[in-house]
Amino acid sequence: MKVLVVDDEAIVLRSCRMVLEAEGCEVIAAASVDEAMAILEQQIPELLLIDVKMPVHNGMYLMRRLKEKRPGIPIIVMSGYATSETIKEAEDLGAAIFLPKPFTPDELADTIKAVLANTRREA
């Protein structure tokens, strides 16, 4: 399964890659929204992990673009700090779930499994 992880923090990208690959996923990492957009031009991942706060364009921007171009891909929104307003905005833009940082490998794995199970049931 192909998962696109978008985060400006290298440590987060590396952590996610480690956990997801251990779960048997193929991980594509993007350090910015622009990079993610470029990757999305060529590949279609089955799941997206997006950080909210990033320089240049933030995660909300990316989600709005995805809604136009590639709707239907399940999205997990991550953030180190979020208010109920940002969570609501993310949900409105199509986020399947909000995952607060920091998280343990088990928490990440469980979240992904839950989202995928949910998506399959709906599909």
Binding site: I11, S15, Y81, P100, P102, T104, P105
Partner: protein, 647 residues
């Protein structure tokens, strides 16, 4: 405004005492006037009686003298023998003893045999009619009384008498008989007695006193009836004999100080006394002064009213008594008014001084003082006002303290929030890395047991950091309230059910006494539930096994100055209690008494923030070693703040 209450009070006291004084003065003076005048009139009437008695006595005296003379045998024989020389001597002696002005003997044929005075032995020939002798010759019995003597008679008797009788009339425009300008007739007290020799009447002895210009009678009245009483150099009592309405003998003085002979009485008195024959007693202006007077008619032997007798008392004596009484009354009134003013001043001061103090106290409050000087507590309404004022200021103080505390708390929350938001962002990313890598390392089977144990330490420490950061974020995250009508008892019961197991494990009993008839409150259920959980968990942490936690709900008014309807949730524990020095810090962010790692010190601070945003407040009572009570008050009517800080 400052003096108006006082001056009003003094003025009313003055007014009342002035009115009382004036009324009693007027009433008193009226009584005194009536009483005094009545008394004076009575006295004057009595005086007049006395004077009249003296007059009558005089008449009797004259008659007695004459009668005794006619009874002497030597006298009778002289009359019989017409021994005029002897008779003249006898008449002179009698007249001197009886103080007679005229006396004489008339023969049975009507001729005068002899008389006293210069014309002792009249030459035969014409003679004036002797009214006295005529009456006796006709009636053959003696007569006595008042007689008008015509001027002809007087001239013949003694021309000095005629001269004395002549009194010029004073000019008086009020006079009814202005034609006459002098009096010539005489008014006399006289008697005539027949001289008998057996049954034979030999003649008539007559004699009398001329009252015209006579001072003897009136002055005797003054000296005996009024006992010569003098007031301000003047005699109190006066007496007068009138011929008709003209004063012919008097000690009433003219303005020039002479006897007021020839002056007339007022027409009113004349009509009343002379014409109608009645007694007159009243206040009257006589000559130059006011007198309390009494008049009575004099009747002649013939029965005609020929004159009047008068006595009068100087009114000035009574006026002086009235003046003295008036002065005393006025002084008493003035004294009462003075006392009234003083009393008014004192009472006004008693009333206004606490009011003044209240005014000063309210000025102090306006200038910011919450402990104004109210002075001694007063009784009555002023005391009630003082208490109310004191309570009002205290309530203001509590409200001010409460709002200051809220401002401080929300400022702390805001600054901590900004800090936390910034820090959390930066910390949570590396924290994700630490957690991921340590957990991934722990999954490996090829690591030594001691390394695994060390890794476990890293995991636990990281989890702690994670909790701290989460607490910070919860504290700073002032999410919007999502209020809905709530049954508070149900909410409390739900919160307790979440903690019950924990309490059971520790051995602490939780008892809930739900209040009845509570008003429905509108609140954010999840946030208030987290507050309840937080407070109950704190209580649980503070309570040793075997202790208990009691929770009550009750309808309650806000104790914060304004009385608002609301509900109060009380959480009481039997735990260790909070030392007084820590009570104020209890709601400060990061204040904790728990051991390191047990709490972040944010729970109560967050709880207070939530309750305050609902418009409520939290109070704490605590006693070290006995336990603490937390009172969470929430308003029944929705009046909440919306101050969510987004981002």
């Amino acid at each position: 405004m400052k003096y108006s209450t006082r001056s009003k009070l003094i003025a009313s006291f003055l007014g009342v005492s002035f009115l009382v004084g004036i009324v009693s003065l007027v009433a008193g003076m009226r009584l005194v006037n009536e009483h005094l005048l009545g008394e004076a009139l009575n006295r004057v009437r009595q005086n007049l009686n006395a004077a009249n008695e003296m007059y009558v006595t005089r008449v009797k005296h004259v008659k007695t003298c004459l009668s005794i003379t006619t009874l002497g045998l030597a006298f009778i024989s002289s009359v019989r023998e017409k021994n005029t020389t002897d008779l003249a001597l006898r008449l002179e002696r009698m007249a001197r003893l009886a103080e007679l002005d005229f006396a004489g003997l008339v023969s049975e044929d009507g001729r005068v045999l002899c008389r006293i005075g210069p014309n002792a032995l009249p030459s035969s020939g014409t003679h004036a009619e002797n009214p006295l002798a005529k009456m006796v010759l006709e009636q053959r019995t003696s007569v006595s009384g008042t007689v008008i003597l015509p001027v002809e008679f007087l001239i013949e008797e003694n021309h000095e008498l005629a001269e004395r009788a002549r009194i010029p009339l004073a000019a008086d425009p009020d006079s009814s008989s202005g034609a006459r300008d002098e009096i010539s007739a005489g008014l006399s007290i006289a008697a005539a007695v027949p001289v008998f020799d057996g049954p034979l009447m030999l003649g008539v002895l007559y004699g009398g006193i001329l009252l015209n210009r006579s001072e003897t009678f009136v002055d005797t009245v003054r000296e005996t009836v009024f006992q010569g009483e003098v007031f301000n150099g003047r005699s109190i009592g006066t007496a007068t004999i009138f011929l008709n309405d003209v004063r012919i003998a008097t000690n009433v003085l003219t303005p020039e100080g002479k006897r007021a002979l020839g002056t007339r009485v007022s027409r009113e008195v004349k009509e009343h006394v002379l014409d109608k024959g009645k007694l007159w007693a009243d206040l009257a202006f006589v000559s130059r002064d006011w007198y309390i007077t009494a008049y009575q008619p004099i009747e002649a032997i013939s029965g005609a009213r020929v004159g009047m007798i008068y006595v009068g008392v100087l009114e000035e004596k009574y006026a002086d008594i009235r003046r003295q009484i008036l002065t005393v009354y006025s002084l008493i009134t003035a004294a009462i008014m003075l006392v009234g003013a003083g009393l008014g001043y004192l009472i006004a001061r008693r009333i206004t001084s606490p009011i003044q103090r209240l005014i000063r106290a309210s000025q102090q409050v306006r200038e910011g003082s919450l402990t104004p000087d109210l002075g001694q507590p007063e009784r009555g309404e002023i005391g009630v006002l003082q208490t109310a004022f004191k309570e009002m200021v205290e309530a203001m103080g509590r409200r001010r303290a409460a709002s200051e505390a809220r401002i401080i708390h929300s400022e702390k929350q805001a600054s901590v929030g900004r800090l936390a938001a910034g820090v959390a962002h930066e910390i949570n990313n590396p924290l994700t890395g630490v957690l991921t890598y340590t957990h991934m390392l722990l999954r490996r089977k090829d690591i030594a047991a001691d390394v695994r144990s060390d890794l476990q330490v890293i995991v636990e420490a990281t989890e702690r950091v994670r909790r701290i950061v989460k607490g910070l974020l919860d504290f700073s995250r002032q999410t919007k309230l999502d209020p809905e009508p709530t049954d508070i008892n149900r909410l409390v019961a739900a919160a307790i059910s979440l903690i019950e197991n924990q309490a059971l494990v520790k051995g602490v009993a939780i008892k809930f006494n739900p209040g009845e008839n509570l008003p429905e409150v509108t609140l954010d259920r999840s946030q208030i539930q987290s507050v309840l959980i937080n407070v109950v968990i704190n209580a649980l942490d503070a309570t040793e096994p075997g202790g208990n936690i009691r929770i009550f709900t009750a309808a309650s008014l806000s104790g914060n100055g304004v009385a608002l309807k609301g509900i109060e949730i009380t959480v009481a524990d039997t735990g260790c209690g909070v030392p007084p020095e820590n009570l104020n810090k209890l709601f400060d962010p990061f204040f904790t008494t728990k051991t390191v790692g047990q709490g972040t010190g944010l729970g109560l601070s967050v709880s207070l923030g939530i309750v305050q945003r609902h418009g409520g407040h939290i109070r704490v009572q605590s006693e070290v070693g006995k336990g603490s009570r937390f009172f969470i008050w929430l308003p029944a009517e929705r009046k909440m703040e919306h101050e969510g800080t987004g981002g």
